[in-house]
Amino acid sequence: MSRDRGPDASAQEPAPDAVPAVDTRLLVREEGLKGYLTEFRRKMRSGELGSLPVVIAVIIIWTVFGSLDSTFLSAQNLSDLSQQIVGTGMIAVGIVFVLLLGEIDLSVGSVSGLCAALFAVLNVLNGMNEWLALLVALAGGAAVGLIHGFFFAKVGVPAFVVTLAGNLAWNGLMLQVLGTSGTVNIPGESIVSKLYSTIFHSPAAAYVTAAVGVGLFLAASLLDARRRRAARVPFRPVAEIVLRTVVIAAIAFAAAYILNQYRGLPLALLIFLILLVVLDFVLRRTTYGRQIFAVGGNIEGARRAGISVPFIRMTVFMVAGTMAAAGGIFLAGQIQSASQTSGGGNLLMNVIAAAVIGGTSLFGGRGSVWSALLGALVIGSIQSGMNIMGVSNAVQFMITGSVLLAAVVVDSLSRRTQKAAGRA
């Protein structure tokens, strides 16, 4: 499609040799590696903070807890942490999708519990094949998401109320599903337990994973730059690509080294990382992802561009439901059981906080799935630190609430700066 037939350059006026018009008041333009730095400063000033605050937050948290109790920075604790964040992180990925639309899903906690219960009851109590039960649980999450999406997209009920009602209703359904059996043990050999607890003990696993990831990044960047150069559109200079690759490689191999210090690369972490890469690709490089951002930016605009807004909305809530189910399964694998408290407590707060802390905006149209990883890391670190310190609950509640508040304050202030810098 789309051979551009826009007014051809050979048309009469304006003269084709006209100097490309530049508004003198636009203070910043693209200009290679130096422009990159200027661009960075501009972004900071205009509030496009991206993931910078969260990286700083992680560093601060690790320094504080590390200095309070040295066990915090031990390979063992960090390795545990890398497993513990997977469940929260998975659910947060779904929240990121919903936030990109500028909406919220308050039901993910209950849904994760419901799906874990579904798996446990089907597989453990009713003896269904475990893969099939896993599939049913994930499909259940998607179906729940579809229901939310339907009421939101087709009926026009605000998403936060649909999912608030859902939060209660799915919790009721979970109690119904678990029925009189209460907690159900998931055997250690079950796929769900294995997903969480498997660890590749060979040090090679972690290093190879890191190497593959870095290699892929470098290759993709170089290829893209080559194509752009050939097409005569602005491209990243090789120096910049190398710099970025070096930074990523440093982080990847450091992480691999730490994991290998204790027991090796956890399967759960690997799955989570692969999922993030795939979903990031979907969001940034496919039409579907582009459409999600468009709907998050301007619903009417998206609709008139021929995008089916209800379709996007419903599928995004299905993604959120499915990710909640996946997260619920990992959380069940963590304790090798599904219980009536699954998905309750602070889980909802934690996943929302994770998504927002990671840098995805509450206001729609701005964010990335990597927020889920970074945010879950912050939340997980705080919890782990407080557990090591043995902080009381009342205080834990207040701290979690404050952390969420702090994250959204940063988001809101950065958006305000952006509004002032861009056009309101």
Partner: protein
């Protein structure tokens, strides 16, 4: 006109609750023709446009495309036929960059993946051709001025291969220079054989580029005029539905004062 019109509306009606916004509205657009659609506020012009563009399908009436009746229920249907629309309210996505907005809904792909490089290149070419001043095609639309946004919106309608372009008050928010450029653009569209529907309250602009002028009043047709065989006064009285109106009174007064 012997040849089949590319787009024909027949007896289009649309009702919003208590308001009959369109009743029995007719319109024909031929290739290579600029039809101006004029009328007072609330006459139903935008409603007619939205009916054609599939944003608010009509309650009654027939839309024919190149002689065949078609049904346009979604914006996509209109796009697929080859109808491009620039709306009165711009409908750009502020968070996306200029390129993404230009190609929204019809992204270029390579192996199923967005082909940013080609879209980027194509956008630069297009904007250059229209001599649109934008600092970078990679900045979010949020940071453009109203006029810049309007030109982006118009440029966007030309991506794809439209046969009919509908412009709903494209120049209302534009400065004199940008207005002149848009009018140039409209003429270029005609030269390339596209059918164009231009909605405007500015009689000067209408008389400058239109070939035919369709007047609407209270949701109905109130006359079709050939540009070469009519005067601004005639059209204005068709719009206001009276020979005596605030406009004519003003003109009379002015003439008196000048004397």
């Amino acid at each position: 006109m012997p040849e089949t019109p590319v787009l024909t509306l027949r007896g289009i009606s649309k009702r919003f609750g208590a308001v009959q916004a369109l009743s029995g509205f007719d319109l024909e657009v031929h290739s290579g023709e600029v039809v101006a659609l004029v009328g007072d506020n609330g006459a139903g012009k935008s409603t007619a446009v939205k009916a054609i563009a599939g944003v608010n399908p009509p309650d009654e009436g027939v839309i024919e495309w190149e002689g065949r009746p078609v049904s346009i229920n979604r914006p996509h249907d209109a796009q697929n036929l080859g109808i491009a629309t620039v709306y009165q309210d711009l409908a750009l996505c502020d968070n996306l960059d200029v390129v993404a907005n230009l190609f929204l809904g019809r992204e270029l792909r390579r192996f199923g993946v967005l082909d940013e490089v080609r879209m980027d290149k194509r956008s630069r070419q297009l904007l250059d051709t229209l001599s649109i001043r934008i600092p970078s095609v990679r900045i979010p639309v949020a940071s453009l001025s109203g006029g810049q946004r309007q030109t982006v919106a118009i440029a966007r309608s030309l991506i794809g291969e439209p046969k009919v372009v509908i412009l709903d008050e494209p120049t209302a928010a534009l400065g004199v220079e940008q207005t002149a450029e848009v009018l140039d653009l409209v003429e270029r569209l005609r030269d390339r054989g596209l059918g164009t529907i231009l909605i405007s309250h500015n009689m000067v602009d209408v008389m400058a580029v239109a070939d035919r002028i369709a007047v609407m009043r209270l949701g109905r047709n109130n006359g079709f005029f050939d540009k070469r065989a009519t005067t601004t006064e005639e059209i204005i009285s068709a719009i206001t539905g009276a020979t005596e109106s605030a406009v004519t009174r003003r003109q009379a007064r002015k003439r008196e004062e000048e004397r």
